[in-house]
């Protein structure tokens, strides 16, 4: 009998475990109202994990956030397996129309993409949108090209080939960067266009921010794009970019927040790249938390819906103070106000939750 127990019992336990994993999809994502489940973007993960940790200590509510990528976050929300999703890029009209119910976008903070490079002495360079696009299109091949030296007269640039480094994995960073280039350059807009993965005209691909910055650090004459947070942590050089108003703007948390000082639409689905704001850094974007407008689905209780909404409210208010110390640009007041209005429109059936 001992053997029976030794062999069969573990098998039964394991198979029940597996079964319950598989069955989880159809269940209410929140079995326990003291735990909230979220999934999505990897970019704001350090920020979210700090805020959620503080929230847990203050309110005793545990938030389980899985940073599986924006695409995954959207898919999970559409399958209703999480309480909230998270995405770097706003969902497209097409994606929204394929979703089972109305989904709302609540911005949580701002991210910026910087242009980094590896040159002798790492001088601070300036780029205009045209030059940047031409480099990434492979039309400018040398660092001492007249187009680059014309805008950087104070820097002596070497006769070195430019090696472009881009992300090899599908990523929100690539989306923001290509969204910017599509806006400022007609040729880029026609091909390769904007997306999370592109058919790059030139260059090497590396996985993740750490892959791109690693390759840039190693390869003399290389240029790549990475998230501002990552550049700040690793002290990488970053170029100043000429924005729409004609000012050369250095990438910083302040200039990222400033980029959001524009007329924001009511649903907050807006691309901030090539911003109209005169002090704004031109390659910025909101990152979003996503929830269903009607929180009554999949046998959710009103209490767990309320918990989800108050968590998001916490992120856009009290949570903002943790953004800057972690290298994220906090939401400007106007954006917080708009986000609040969106949260007020969330209901449980017809009853507002805030």
């Amino acid at each position: 009998m001992m053997k029976f127990k030794k062999i069969i019992l573990p098998i039964m336990v394991i198979s029940f475990g597996l079964l319950s994993c598989g069955g989880g999809n159809s269940n209410n994502p929140v079995a326990n109202k003291n735990e909230i489940l979220g999934a999505g973007a990897t970019f704001p993960y350090p920020f979210y994990s700090k805020v959620f940790d503080v929230y847990n200590k203050e309110k005793g509510i545990k938030v389980n956030y899985q940073s599986i990528g924006s695409g995954g976050g959207i898919k999970q929300l559409q399958n209703k397996t999480v309480d909230f999703g998270a995405s770097d890029a706003p969902m497209s009209d097409d994606e929204l129309s394929k979703s089972p119910a109305s989904i709302l976008h609540i911005p949580s903070c701002l991210g910026a993409v910087i242009i980094t490079y590896n040159l002798p002495g790492n001088p601070t360079l300036k780029f205009t949108p045209e030059v940047l696009a031409d480099i990434f299109l492979g039309k400018i091949k040398k660092w001492n090209d007249a187009k680059i030296t014309a805008i950087n007269p104070e820097v002596k640039l070497p006769d070195l080939s430019i090696s472009v480094v881009h992300r090899s994995d599908g990523s929100g960073t690539t989306y923001i960067f290509s969204d910017y280039l599509s806006k400022v350059n007609a040729e880029w807009n026609a091909k390769p266009g904007k997306g999370k993965s592109l058919d790059w005209p030139v260059g090497l691909g590396a996985k993740g921010n750490e892959g791109v910055s690693g390759l840039v650090k190693q390869t003399p004459g290389s240029i790549g794009y990475i998230e501002l947070v990552y550049a700040l942590q690793n002290k990488m050089p970053a170029a100043s970019l000429k924005n729409k108003s004609g000012n050369f703007i250095e990438a910083s948390l302040k200039s990222s927040s400033a980029a959001a000082a524009v007329d924001l639409p009511a649903d907050m689905r807006v691309s901030l790249t090539n911003t109209e704001a005169p002090d704004g850094y031109p390659i910025c974007s909101f990152t979003y938390l996503l929830v269903y407008q009607n929180q009554s689905y999949n046998n959710r209780t009103e209490a767990s819906a309320k918990t989800t909404i108050s968590l998001i409210n916490y992120v856009i208010h009290d949570g903002q103070k943790y953004a800057e110390q972690l290298g994220y640009a906090p939401l400007p007041d106007a954006a917080v106000k708009k986000a609040e209005e969106i949260l007020k429109s969330v209901t449980f059936n017809t009853k507002p939750l805030m």
Binding site: I7, G72, G170, S171, K191, S197, L198, A206
Partner: protein, 299 residues
Amino acid sequence: MTGISYQAKRINLKEKVFKKTLTLSAITVVVILIAIFFTLLINSMPSIKALGTNFFYDKTWDPVADEYGALPFLVGTLLTSFLALLISTPFSIAVAIFLGEYYKKGIVAEIFKNVIDLLAGIPSVIYGFWGLFVLVPIVRAIEMKLGLPPYGVGIFTSSIILAIMILPFSVSLSRQVISMVPAHLKEAAYSLGATRFEVITKIIIPYTKSGLFAGLLLALGRALGETMAVTMLIGNTHEIPTGIFSPGNTMASVIANEFSEATGKIYTSALVEMGLFLFVVATIINILGKQVIKRFTLS
């Protein structure tokens, strides 16, 4: 009496349950393999329908324009795998002869065997890191000397790493077949005045050649599917490589890179189709290898 029959029944039951458990585990493994195949097939249907055979010879992979041709990755996969095989073959045969003929037993043999087995146990991301920090600068220096673009990463770098990674797989099989060469054959050669070198080249290698070939096939199967280390070192471009120093991409690496953020039915499905293709190729190579080993052991 009743006590004995009760006990006999209990033993009987134990036997039955034990056998059932074993059968069930064995069936589960087969079912999982078939299930993987069908999952891949079903999920790649949208792409098979939409792209047809274009998938295999279209040179453009452009998720923005919804155009998916796997040819550059197919070429990249075959190029890195066969180049790796080419680099590792002389080493693996030399090591196999060393361990199968010269040092069959003893402390030296044990140390070498363990070290080679250890090579197989190193996580592939560590090979990737080592490649990035040690191999890439060396290859870059070579490229600068040759006047090529100093990427450092590319087909050549990934092939070297792959060659090291697949070495243990071909060595372990080759060593076994070499030590299986009948002693009377070797002794006959020695008695005719053959040197050790002649015994190896005239007796051992001809006798074991299909076994050695099977070892290489299994190693090739491993090289085709290797993902992480290659992703870190190959340069990840969507173009057909023009030479062994140019960057490229492999099928496994594209799937790993793009799947998590892939949106859209055809895009996801095209990535799955690539997985299906890789699965089929790896299976065929494995079956071929096993078949060759079988024939070798029968004769």
